[in-house]
């Protein structure tokens, strides 16, 4: 059975691109375009990994990260942050708030796939 990855990003073409890349690597991919959609997905799903953008149209990725860490059912789901923010402070904060990894945009395929492979099987 293939691993299932939830991608949360408000840019349709980013969602599309990640979908294309991860599918070709054999992952099953579910997409959410914002905080609300992500919460809806997570309420009925238990993905093997969440790829999470921090700046979303309807709120902040930080809120989704906190939801996940505080939910008994989902607290072990690894989260990889996918963000254009590359400051050490932001990366440090993400890791201390429970993110498993951090990939800065723009990224090449191997960076994305590497992070997904490392963390999706790591839990």
């Amino acid at each position: 059975m293939s691993s299932r990855v939830l991608i949360v990003d408000d840019e349709p073409d980013i969602l599309f691109m990640i979908k294309v890349i991860l599918r070709s690597e054999g992952y099953e991919v579910v997409a959410a375009s914002g905080v609300a959609e992500a919460r809806a997905q997570l309420s009925e799903d238990n993905p093997d990994l969440v790829l999470l953008d921090l700046r979303l149209a309807d709120g902040e990725g930080w809120d989704v990260l906190r939801d996940l860490r505080e939910d008994g059912r989902l607290e072990r789901v690894p989260v990889v942050i996918l963000s254009a923010h590359a400051s050490p402070g932001t990366i440090q904060r993400a890791l201390s708030e429970g993110a498993a990894g951090y990939v800065t945009k723009p990224f090449v395929t191997s960076e994305l796939v590497g992070a997904v492979r490392e963390h999706a099987y790591g839990n």
Binding site: D10, I21, K105, F107
Partner: protein, 460 residues
Amino acid sequence: MLDYAIFLLDESGHILSWNAGAQRIKGYKPQEIIGKHFSIFYPEEDLAWDKPGRELKTALQEGRVEDEGWRVRKDGSRFWASVVITPLYEADGRLRGFGKVTRDLSERRLAEEHLRRSEEEFRMLVSHVTDYAIFMLDARGYVQTWNAGAQRIKGWTADEIIGKHFSTFYTQEDLDAQKPERELEMAKTAGRVEDEAWRVRKDGSLFWANVVITAVYDDDGHLQGFAKITRDLTDRRNAELAKDRFIANAAHELRTPLSVVIGLSSHLRNPKAVEDPEFPEQIDALARQAIRMRTLVNNLLDLTQIVQGKTRPLSEVRLDDAVERAMLTLPPPDGTSVDTAIGPETVRADPGRLDQVITNLLSNAYRYGGKRITLRSEARAPDLVVLEVADDGPGVSSELATVLFEPFKRGAETQAIEGSGLGLAIVKGFVESFQGRIDYAPADGGGARFLIYFKRGEDR
């Protein structure tokens, strides 16, 4: 000894000898002057109170007399002289006469006068400079002088601040760190210290200051005090910060399209990618994001032109033609209607930039506005044409309305809609380059409404 007139007088002041210096300075030859009384060298006003006689008397009493004053040459011209008269005695103590040494100080006096005047001018200059605070501190840091610039930048008048310690200008944080003392110490050691930091005005507000403190020594090498020059760089700092923010924003805006282009193109290198049924969509996404980057780069170039104040020659453009061109370039999407009511007036504009202004407002209305869009024009005053672009959509929040025309300000509700965040900044810049103005004023139903004021062309 050409620089000194050295000659002898007898006990009553008649000239006994004459040297080459005396001839050069005073103009008399020996045969013309020997035997004459030395009062001949004094100007009338001095003769009136018998200055020559008094000087001889003083020389006798004091052992010598020294004087600086005007003396008269043979040709009647005056020179500024330094004079020393010394009584000379015979071996038996009888007065033999006087030795007189005279120097022409006219040049020195001129130089001194010159110096005095230039110091005066310099003081005037410094006191009137308003762009720089220039003032003196004594060796312990107490304010001794104050100029117009210091008053303008820092707020205190000379009366209020002279005598106060210069630490008054520092923030509490800098005082805790003993920065004022350290800066004087450094100026003493290194001759000069420069700092760029916050300083405090009289009203307690802060300004970003460039400060240079220079140690001032007198001729003997003793520390006299410090010269302090302060500039207010607050505006420049704000401009630099705004520029940094702008560059950070532009880089950020480029990241998303770059991510897609880099991500998809590295995926598409896989030979099997072509077999993917979604292959055409992948190519489309790639092209779409490349175009988005082109748009962003073009927008940045437009804004750069605006910031640099580059204008294009204005001509008279018919507004109805411009609106028609925009509608052809950018036809409304399905379900959206555009009503136009544009008069035949011409406006002062650059045609290319005007087209960009209208298509930009139109595409904003398509993307963020409602389904009914109206474009109307109205000739108001004899030389004013107003173009109104309105829609029946949700309009703009009041917070966003205040920063609507600033670069990279976008409403939260529009984040998901593609856009560089530069469009309205460019629209505003272009309209202003037409010597016009753009305002945002909500439409009656709450929708967005932009009002553009143009200078009317000479069509009347």
